[in-house]
Amino acid sequence: MSRSPMFAMSILSSALLLAISAPAWAQSHAGHAMTPPPSADAPTVGADTVDHATMDHAKMDRSAMDHGQMNHAKMDHSAMDHGQMDHAKMDHSSVDHGQMDHAKMDHGSVDHSPTDHARTDHGAPDDSTMGYAAMGHGPTKPPARNDPREPIPAVTDADRIAAFPPIDHGAMEHAPDLHSLLLVNRLEHWDGQHGNGQAWEASGWIGGNIHRVWLRSEGERSGGRTDAADVEVLYGRSVSPWWDVLVGVKQDLGRGDSRTWAAFGVQGLAPYKFETSATAYVGEGGQVAATVEVEYELLLTNRLILQPLVEATFTAKDDPRYGNGSGLNKVEAGLRLRYEVNRRFAPYIGISHERLFGDTAEYHQAAGERARDTRWVAGVRVWF
């Protein structure tokens, strides 16, 4: 950039423009240490004949301006006559106000009255990229005031009455705290190698953000009879953003099985968004059982969703009466592909494999059942 007289002139004129023709800027960067501007909201200008209305600063682009090393400290503009200046031909497009120090400028006796800023062409300026904070218009912030510029109004008795009117308890309506969800995750017909039937798995809650009552149920029917089913009622409390602990009871409802269990569990969303639940059951006679279930949702599209699922059950003690050996009893793995017609209603098809282990398998085989079964399933997933 050449340091030509024209350049100096443009620096001067832009400095002046900043300082006087846009007093509002001067106000908001009071670091100019000029006389404090009036606190009026309206940006009226001291120089009467200057018509700023026609200036369009909005389009100014000062981003490339470089006033870098200016020191105006000793400038004396008192004898300047801007009347003859033609701003129209000035090019401010590459000016940088970066390090300007206007602190000691004296504009006191400058006569701008005949200046015609209306024709000033600031190119295509752009305030939005101008770093006001970084302009460094002075070494200091304005001195902090002890008294507010606009005085704080004295409070009258009428103000006090208006400020704290009597309010009835319950005047504010609140959105309900109590919410609920009932998700029938699986309601399906199954067709296996050794028969067919129906099955369901549902869970629901009612309560607030932290405390909820949970209902869970699953079961299986074949030949018009309920083979195995249970219903659980649990109190659940959120202990972290993703995990609830649960305590409650489980009632078995299957064929020849009406045991009642105390249930203790956790459930939640594990990292990587695995829906997880693990529950321990303590039954009559000291039997202890456990169930672990993990589910995932793999989005083929936002409506076509593949849901893998694994469920495993264990018991602590050998219990031939109910066909359970000790240890791992059963693993069920399923893969269901659903289509969300809408969020609440999604039909699905899938395949499910079930395998019994250890003594459990033997007890069932002894009763004429198979230790393994693979089933095709078709059903719906709905929630309310």
Binding site: T44, P153, A162, P165, M172, E173, L300
Partner: protein, 599 residues
Amino acid sequence: MSFPTQPGTGSPPMPSRRLFVQGAAAGGVVAGLVASGLPARAFAAAGPAVASAPQVLTAADVQLSIGESLANFTGRTRPAITVNGSLPAPILRWREGDTVSVRVANTLQGHPTSIHWHGILLPANMDGVPGLSFNGIAPGEAYQYRFTLKQSGTYWYHSHSMFQEQAGLYGALIIDPLQPAPYRFDREHVILLSDWTDLDPGALFRRMKKLAEFDNYYKRTLPDFLRDVRKDGWAATTADRGMWGRMRMTPTDISDINAHTYTYLLNGTAPAGNWTGLFRSGEKVLLRFINGGSMTYFDVRIPGLKMTVVAADGQYIHPVSIDEFRIAPAETFDVIVEPSGQDAFTLFCQDMGRTGYAAGTLAVRHGLQAPIPARDPRPLLTMGDMGHDMGTMGHDMPGMGHQMKVMEGGCGAHMGHAAHGGTARAPRHPPSEQGNPLVDMQSMATEPKLDDPGIGLRDNGRHVLTYAAMHSLFDDPDGREPGREVELHLTGHMEKFSWSFDGIPFASAEPLRLNYGERMRIVLVNDTMMQHPIHLHGVWSDLENADGDFQLRKHTIDMPPGTRRSYRVRADALGRWAYHCHLLYHMEAGMMREVRIDE
């Protein structure tokens, strides 16, 4: 910084999707069900709804009647809550310095109501928040509002009772200044944007509680994963998915409720209705934009026209010339345009998630329409957006490791989403957030980001308004340094749809106490992945620049994810004031406090 865009995921549109986005051509309040005050538009059986600004009431003594009307914006007739039978409510046009008197009658069946004058300085008992300012207006009763206007500019008013704002109870409030405005214009139009749902808003809230991601049909799929592996490699893609997976979040959660539920309105008109504002070529037209949406950020542009923003939240700013701005719920922007060279220009207001839009036309006569641009590509949130960008932080930041633990497997130290240079700060989180089941996320590196156009608007080839570009036309009217500082964190749990300050929902929160006359600073830190417009009743929120100096007087401060922003409050209004997120359902879900200014 560039943003990968979410590709189409091939989800077929809902049957009524087009109608949802476009709305019904002859939408509006349905005729014949309301005794009086219907705008002419409501009677138009077909054709564009153009002649139809809501009534303008200019008297200082006004009667407003809140009642239920039927409205049809989507082809289905649904109940709406209206003022004098119109949706939006009538435009109130008053003059600075006047004392106005408004009698608000409640004709609703069985529901109390209220009107809050958003951004207006007035005595606490005139502020219209049931439970803080007054008892609300019981059915069959009326409340006499009376206050003196100490300000001028573009504002709005709305119900502060439950979800009535969502059901249609909002209108523009214009106060003409005593002194002439510092800009010239030849004509003006109010542009009030809003979101409409056919659902009962209470049912919509219950739906959010059951399944908050209901409207997010843009989640990343297996095909997206495969495409990203091809593009970015296996390691980068699994690292990215792993990060989001550990957080149990999804980067397409831009807005909780989008055009799958909403039809976006411009002056109470769906896009198909083509609201039209007239101009003569060469005129300077002042457009008073108001976002009366309950849950919607709009990104507004008028293809072919530069906009000069001259006021924000009713207060004059140094003019800024831009192509596009994002307007948060409850914000207002006054812009001047000089249309010429074309007979029609489209007011295009797409939602932040790019799922729909509100639109209207500026034209030289009725019946014209300019092309409606395509919606921009959908943005994806990044870790940098959410203040999880470790790359920008000094690694000696205290407390960082701790936050990571709290995060339960946060992002890991090398995420490579570097966005902003080196100014990020590790926030000190309040103890009430620690181990709190209602806080699913905490930011680890926050900055004011005042110069950030925001997600989906960066590097889009257009000149987008930012907070950094806006400066009040006046100096700090108070001038004192804040005597103290209060830091509040915006917190929430996406899946539970629970929202709060510092992890404490409104129901269990103590009021924030201010001393009458003090100048104090509020520092907000956004610990969520959502954007929140925060509104403090009764007093101004004087936004500070990154150096802590006064910059911009507002009534609603927008808080994008990952931001830390500060503003000054001059506690010169005695009383109990609401302080809340202006996303209606976030407020109702707990992101609210009482601010109490005592002597």
